[in-house]
């Protein structure tokens, strides 16, 4: 059966996103997946602006704006308030940027995940503080230019692995998704909607403005991010069962991805090689994790044994 993206629009034109905004398209697709019985919690992020200033509102679902670091707990609060009033059929989704998720909001997110509050938490990741004018976040990749990591001293630390942090909470569902694979993205949100507990979905959402690239390259850059293994598309259930959802037929070199973005234009050949090595390693590690069905181990809690396997793998990869 042919998959079709739902026709019903819950996001209207007139929003104020930049041309080619990955975050805007992501919201449009996600709401198509989740449907009308959804409430969205928005902390400070580009979407604070995109949805429109009071009294404008470009989404056809209720939105609660909240402070920067509070997306997860505000969603938990909404869910609790609805539940106690018997309104149990509403999907509550926190929708935060990478800064609001990996940096300032990680405490509240970890709290909600530890309690396994029944929310979907979406991080739309554009790899810097774009709303404030392209400052580095802990999601900014190593080597990237931002206004606080100028070309002479580009970001020297690798991107924080938020997926592994969330997976470590052993929540029922963690997944990555991006816009060049809309069917995968929609399926993941529908799956998340059907699961009780905390669901974390990490959407790779390019920012042409902040990445110094042409807006019409947005979908292409998403595809390249996956094909170069910069941003693999996978999911992890209950913190142990990994599945790689998109296995690129053509593995592309990272240079193809980097060269389209002005934020990487200063990189030397050597630096590009390092990025390639790092992408290769992470991909191998992920493939290893996905190849192991830890749910079939003798006891579900053979953590030590599994950790040792992983350590062996890491040692091997480093060699």
């Amino acid at each position: 059966m042919r998959f079709t993206v739902p026709e019903k629009e819950l996001m209207f034109p007139g929003h104020v996103a930049c041309p080619g905004c990955g975050g805007a398209l992501a919201m449009r697709m996600v709401l198509k997946a989740l449907g009308e019985k959804t409430m969205v919690v928005l902390p400070a992020c580009c979407w604070t602006i995109i949805d429109g200033p009071f009294p404008m509102h470009s989404l056809q679902v209720p939105v609660l704006h909240t402070a920067f670091e509070t997306a997860a707990i505000a969603a938990s609060g909404v869910k609790a308030g609805l539940d106690i009033q018997g309104k149990n059929d509403v999907t509550v989704m926190a929708w935060a940027g990478d800064g609001g998720t990996l940096d300032i909001g990680i405490q509240a997110l970890s709290g909600a995940a530890e309690r396994n509050d029944d929310i979907i938490y979406t991080c739309y990741d554009n790899e810097a503080y774009m709303n404030t004018g392209i400052q580095r976040s802990s999601a900014t990749p190593k080597g990237a230019w931002t206004t606080t990591t100028p070309e002479k001293t580009p970001k020297s630390e690798p991107k924080k692995n938020i997926m592994e942090i969330m997976i470590a909470h052993r929540i029922p569902y963690c997944a990555t998704a991006t816009l060049s694979y809309p069917e995968d993205l929609i399926n993941k949100f529908r799956k998340a909607q059907s699961i009780k507990g905390t669901k974390f979905i990490h959407i790779y959402a390019p920012c042409p403005t902040g990445w110094k690239m042409a807006p019409d390259l947005m979908i292409k850059i998403c595809r390249l991010a996956v094909e170069t293994n910069i941003f693999p598309i996978y999911e992890c259930e209950n913190g142990i069962k990994y599945t790689i959802n998109i296995k690129p037929k053509n593995q592309m070199p990272v240079i193809d991805y980097l060269k389209l973005q002005g934020r990487f234009s200063h990189l030397t050949q050597k630096e590009i090689e390092q990025i390639q090595k790092s992408a290769d390693f992470e991909w191998e590690l992920l493939q290893y994790r996905a190849s192991q069905d830890f749910t079939k181990t003798k006891t579900y809690n053979h953590k030590l044994k599994n950790n040792q396997k992983l350590i062996k793998c890491i040692t091997k990869c480093n060699d």
């Binding site: 509102h57 939105v63 308030g81 009033q85 309104k87």
Partner: protein
């Protein structure tokens, strides 16, 4: 039903009887017993509420705000550093016009670490739009907690119920716990007019440009002005049902007083005894207990204080670089009234140092004797 309970448990019973629907709290000494007992109420099914055991006070206040935005009745309790951590979201609750109720146990701020009482935690949250009510006894704590929900829901402003660390929070007193059916009559379930509603796709708290923001702030002030009457009405209704009332301020033996001593919290109880004793000696002294701090009960303060020859304000708090905060408030309230009495500002008992009847006697004696309040602050009990 009379029961001997602590001030903390008086708060818990208040939140129980008010049928709180969502509670979110984080433990901090000396507030912990409030949330422990509420946890037990929830666990036993006595209270049908969602209790979110959050990872910080910042999240506690956020959860209350978010749940309140759906129309649920919400409650939290904290103290000191916990309240300070909430600060951003305390702004949010007030500006979002959500009737969140919070009990704050007055505890001094660090460093050095102190778990003992003073008022700098709650008074640092003065300018946010919260109603603040200070309590003197455990009975008052319970009654005020119940009243707080009714006030909050009528004026759509958050309400802070304040009680002193240990002197109230951990001290047991006999408290008359009202019947649930009576409280239900006084405080029925409420319907928030504008709330998160799946059939009505509105956005709350959106970017607000200068064309709209100013008016929203004007309306918060207007709500505070209206709250003054609402608080009095709620107190009267409470009296009709339960036979107890507190007033926004209490004038104790002020009628012909030459010196009026202004107090808040448990220092009022200590002062009450000293006033009785001095009255027996024929000294014309009275006490004004300020229960309602925000909104400022300007008319009540003026009409009572104006008649005195001298006013002594007791401040268990300090705005560094200026003076005691209640004294500043009283000064600004009386400013411009011709012949207003001079105001003596006594700063005392910071970090929970005992405030004894002797201290109050000396403050009164000193005020009678003093020619004018030369110093901005008169320090009581500082060992230099």
């Amino acid at each position: 039903m009379k029961k001997v309970i602590t001030g903390n448990h008086a708060v818990s019973y208040g939140a129980l009887l008010a049928r709180s629907q969502v509670i979110a709290a984080y433990p901090i000494t000396p507030q912990t017993q409030i949330v422990e007992l509420l946890s037990e109420f929830c666990a036993s099914g006595k209270l049908n509420a969602k209790f979110i055991k959050v990872e910080s006070e910042h999240s506690a206040m956020t959860a209350c705000i978010a749940a309140s935005a759906t129309g649920a009745r919400t409650f939290t309790a904290t103290s000191s550093h916990g309240l300070a951590l909430m600060h951003e979201m305390l702004h949010w609750a007030a500006a979002a016009r959500l009737p969140v109720v919070l009990a704050n146990v007055n505890r001094a701020m660090g460093p050095g670490w102190s778990v003992w009482t003073d008022q700098n935690d709650s008074l640092s949250q003065r300018d946010l739009g919260w109603i603040q009510l200070y309590c003197e006894s455990n009975q008052e704590v319970l009654d005020t907690t119940i009243q707080a929900f009714k006030i909050a829901e009528k004026v759509l402003l958050p309400v802070m119920v304040v009680l002193d660390a240990f002197v109230l929070s951990h001290t047991s007193e006999p408290v008359d716990i009202p019947e649930q059916v009576m409280v239900d009559k006084f405080l029925p379930s409420y319907e928030l007019e504008t709330k998160l509603d799946i059939t009505n796709a509105r956005s709350y708290g959106a970017l607000t440009n200068p064309d709209h923001y100013f008016e929203i702030r004007y309306k918060i002030q207007k709500a505070h002005n209206e709250a003054l009457q609402v608080i009095k009405d709620v107190d009267n209704e409470f009296y009709e049902q339960f036979g107890r009332k507190y007033g926004v301020v209490e004038a104790y033996r002020c009628e012909d007083a030459k010196v009026i001593i202004v107090t808040s919290g448990t220092i009022s109880g200590t002062t009450r005894g000293v006033i009785d004793e001095m009255r027996e000696q024929g000294r014309k002294v009275g006490m004004l207990k300020q229960k309602l701090f925000r909104p400022t009960p300007i008319d009540e303060l003026r009409s009572i204080l104006y008649k005195a020859q001298k006013i002594a304000v007791i401040d268990r708090n300090l705005s560094f670089g200026h003076s005691g905060i209640f004294a500043q408030e009283i000064k600004s309230t009386l400013y411009g009234l011709a012949g207003a009495p001079p105001i003596y500002d006594y700063v005392i008992g910071l970090g929970g140092r005992d405030v004894t009847p002797d201290d109050i006697r000396e403050i009164i004696d000193n005020t009678f004797k003093a020619e004018s309040p030369h110093d901005t602050i008169i320090w009581r009990g500082v060992r230099l």
